[in-house]
């Protein structure tokens, strides 16, 4: 098992390394360069050349890539073009906001999905199961921004139960910040809940059709014990995998949700940076998100290796 995990870790490191030149290359596709995009097309050639020198753009690409990467590794993300401020400084608050949003969503949606999936599998074929299945299928077909708009319309405008836009103040208590974050959290939860529920249900039902479950049934083991102690542990590996993949999907989900709710998070910062063509900032945010995504995928694979008895016991 140790070998399998080490192998997977090494592969993950390679992937992370591969991601970096791709992110860096995005500046190189552009005809012209950052200096021109700061100064505009009409700027005289000497001024552009001076700017290029000041930004270090006159050096060859591989040298700049190396500088950027080594800066990245020690936490120096460079300077934002739009505001001229240190990117590290711009990002820190935003990053915390995004992590908070994603973490609360995960804490709510993962247990909920596993419980719904288990209930659905236990009551397979009943009205309850079908309601859950149809409900999740409907939610899957709805784009996140529709969900966001719908929830705002229903809960904030029609019913007036929840605040439409999150207002964050530093002196807020945890509960009141939860309150103002309720709708973004709800939207994100819907976005990831459906898949996790369906996959949990299918994994458990899949295991339920195997021979040892039939054996347990014939021995007269009660239903809930079969589900909890016979089926669930064996379904754990695929379920963990789905959960980690969906948490990785949160990375994409936050982009839409933060924009929809004007939430001051990292994804919103990145979307704004893309709109203003603030390339160093786009690169920094892109790297953070991509590395998180790769690490969550890596985490999913390792957890599913560890939780799968067959993989765990081989070698």
């Amino acid at each position: 098992m140790t070998y399998t995990i080490l192998h997977r870790l090494a592969l993950g490191l390679v992937t992370m390394w591969v991601v970096s030149p791709l992110v860096f290359a995005s500046t190189e596709i552009l005809p012209g360069d950052v200096a021109e995009s700061i100064l505009g097309k009409e700027a005289p050639a000497e001024v552009v050349a001076a700017m290029r020198e000041r930004l270090g753009l006159d050096r060859p690409a591989y040298v700049r890539y190396w500088d950027w990467l080594s800066g990245l590794l020690v936490g120096d993300l460079g300077v934002s073009l739009a505001s001229g401020r240190e990117i590290t400084e711009l990002i820190s608050d935003r990053l915390w906001n995004t992590v908070r949003l994603a973490a609360i969503t995960a804490v709510i949606s993962v247990p909920l999905a596993v419980i719904l999936g288990l209930v659905s599998a236990m009551k397979a074929g009943t009205l309850l199961d079908r309601t859950i299945s149809i409900g999740t299928l409907c939610v899957i077909s709805v784009p996140e921004f529709f969900m966001a708009a719908l929830l705002v319309f229903v809960f904030a405008v029609q019913l007036r139960w929840l605040p439409a836009m999150p207002i964050l103040r530093p002196d807020q208590s945890f509960l009141s910040s939860m309150w103002s974050l309720a709708l973004p959290i709800l939207t994100l939860t819907f976005a990831v809940l459906a898949h996790m529920t369906l996959m949990t249900r299918n994994a458990v039902i899949n295991v339920l059709s195997s021979a040892y479950i039939e054996m347990a049934l014939l021995k007269g083991v009660p239903n809930y014990r079969i589900i909890l102690f016979h089926a669930f542990p064996n379904a754990l590996s695929p379920i963990i995998n789905v959960i980690a993949l969906n948490l990785a999907y949160l990375v994409a989900g936050v982009v839409i949700v933060e924009t929809a709710f004007s939430y001051p998070g990292l994804a919103r910062l990145m979307v704004d940076a893309v709109a203003t063509r603030d390339i160093p900032l786009v690169q920094a945010c892109g790297m953070i998100f991509s590395v998180t995504y790769v690490m969550l995928n890596l985490f999913a694979d390792i957890l599913s290796i560890v939780s799968n008895p067959r993989l765990r016991l081989s070698q």
Binding site: T15, S26, A149, A252, V255, I256, D278, F289
Partner: protein
Amino acid sequence: MTTNMSGPTETTASSGESDGKIKDSNLRLTTTAWIAILILVFWVGVAVFAPFLAPYGEGDMVSMESFKVVEESSFLGTDYLGRDVLSRIIYGARMTLGLALIATILSFSTGIVLGFVAAISRGWVDQILSRSVDAIMAFPSIMLALIIIGGVGTSLPVVIFTVAMIDATRVFRLSRARALALDASVMEYVNVAEARGEGVTWIMLQEILPNTIVPLAAEFGIRYTFAILFISSLSFLGLGVQPPGADWGVMVKENLQGLLYGAPAALLPAACITTVSVAVNLLVDWFLHRSSTTIPGELME
């Protein structure tokens, strides 16, 4: 899988083995498939005949009143600039469905060609193509799109190209895997064709494509909904179709603030996107169920 196993609708499926025609029993549409087709035909009609159907132009300001049903507007009222919502939804169908279609066709042609090339030639060509695709797929797709648009700036060709490229990686994987998984009997034909001196293009079109058409056709539906959702998400972020162009994603973005005053103008285009994606999903579902009881080759004339 053989024709003898043609599932619950047994009728005559096993009688006329290789007459090359699609069996009637396999073509029978279920109710959900009918609903899906009706929805799609409706939207295609709307998209094609947009200029004739829309009461106003996509950028026409019909009223000074925002978010109101006024007499100048049709029954869906006006948007935040006083433009007619119905007309913009009709033109939006054209933009959203059209852009997604172009992107999907592009991604399919490149993805399938590269996938088959990788499968036929194997060796270093396959290695280079597969590893590049792995690298692209290591990114969350929306991040990749943001990074590219951040570097190049946004315009319709850039959006189409970006979505097509992201989609093409998935199509590449599928078509490569499908081509590699073809059973030995098909590969014999490929070997014979190679020995005869046929080119890669001929082999792809005549030997491999007909044998992989079913999974690829289903994938087309899945990719098309992905492209619709992806392009409208980009537009929603303000990075796809630019105003005053009417795109369903743009319309949701523009009218989001109106929701706070109780104006549902943002919900309508979002609901349109959902109907299309649900319809395509239903159709793909039906198609996969139906075709799982057929030999893929039977679909071909």
